[in-house]
Amino acid sequence: MKRNLSILLASLFVIAGAIFTAGARAEGEVPAPLAIGATVEDFTLPDVDNKDRSLKSLAGKNGTVLLFIAVQCPVSNAYNERMEKLAEDYKAKGIAVIGINSNVAEDAAAVKAHAEQNKLSFTILKDAGNKIADKLGASVTPEAYFLDTNNKLLYHGRIDNARNPAQLETSDLRNALDAALAGKAIEKTEAKAFGCSIKRA
């Protein structure tokens, strides 16, 4: 009886160990970012009201910006007004802005309350389990991905150079959107995003 119990406990220990190892992610380990020119497959995530929304249903007729954002990150929050203005300005030009929150500790209710407090009117999706962040290789907030009408990645990286809007010098994301809208080649297709690490599950 005692022997059986020992075997059972040992088996449970081994199984638990295997589950833990398989699920564990080394800290700092983020999948490589999607390459410029690669295509993002259509995906579906719930919005802050738990309604499923697909990328296809939200995409703009001239392209789509996916913005990884956060509730608690001071860098992401420093961009709230700029993100809202970006969404407003480019909605009129046929480019949709979609926010994505992949932080494990920020649930849909917190994301909704944050959006209301900060008057963020664009759609925000909750990426529980950071599946889309992993697919795209997003590592920080804020971090932007600009897709063309075929979901091909045209620009990846920061919104602009400065957390402090008074120090704004280069609006990399806007430059990319303007170039694409004008049918021109995007001069700078990547600019390193700077912000808070996405807290993955």
């Binding site: 800290e27 700092g28 860098v75 590592s139 920080v140 400065a162 280069t170 995003a193 808070c196 690490s197």
Partner: protein, 182 residues
């Protein structure tokens, strides 16, 4: 009578201990460093100079920010490593990527709480990208990030994300010369 005789030394001891305790406390307070922590601004060019110069000792650099949770979590380990290896001729500096407005407030406050003694800098650049690229073009700028340079200014170890203290110690052991402390 016998009881009184026995209790007197105990009372004396208690009184002495009570008198001694504040004296010890005062002594402890006096031993605490009184100099406030100064965080120096460093621009991209100066950072380049710091990282690439030939030096007598290996250099450990930790990039961090007060808004970064894993940075805050790993800091006590970094302070321990600094205390442990500084006598073995390891230079250790921290570079904060906080906003310049935090240089006299949030950054020194946190370093003070951590009792961090290593030289502290804050990146003074309106655009952090050139600084991130000069450190390591493959680094995306996510924090924390820790780099170990040898005497020639070459990166011999790097870790993006919260450090594993055992792994970092192992890397340091390979480059420090034990008994070479100053």
């Amino acid at each position: 009578m016998r009881f009184t005789k026995a209790i007197v030394p105990v009372v004396v001891l208690i009184v002495l201990l009570c008198l001694g305790a504040p004296a010890q406390k005062r002594k402890y307070r006096a031993a605490k460093p009184t100099q406030p922590i100064v965080v120096s601004p460093i621009d991209t060019e100066a950072l380049k100079g710091l990282l690439t110069q030939q030096r007598q000792r290996p250099l450990l650099v930790n990039f961090w920010a007060t808004f970064c949770d894993p940075c805050r979590d790993e800091f006590p380990d970094l302070v321990k490593i600094d205390k442990e290896y500084r006598p073995h001729a390891l230079e250790f500096v921290t570079v904060s990527l906080d906003d310049m407005t935090d240089i006299k407030t949030g950054v020194p406050k946190f370093l003070d709480e951590m009792k961090a003694q290593m030289p502290a800098y804050l990146l003074n650049a309106t655009d952090p990208e050139p600084a991130i690229n000069l450190v390591d073009p493959r680094w995306q700028g996510d924090l924390p990030a820790t780099f170990l340079y040898n005497e020639k200014g070459e990166i011999v170890y790097k870790h993006i994300g919260r450090v594993n203290p055992a792994e970092l110690r192992e890397a340091i052991e390979k480059v420090v010369k034990k008994g070479d402390g100053q």
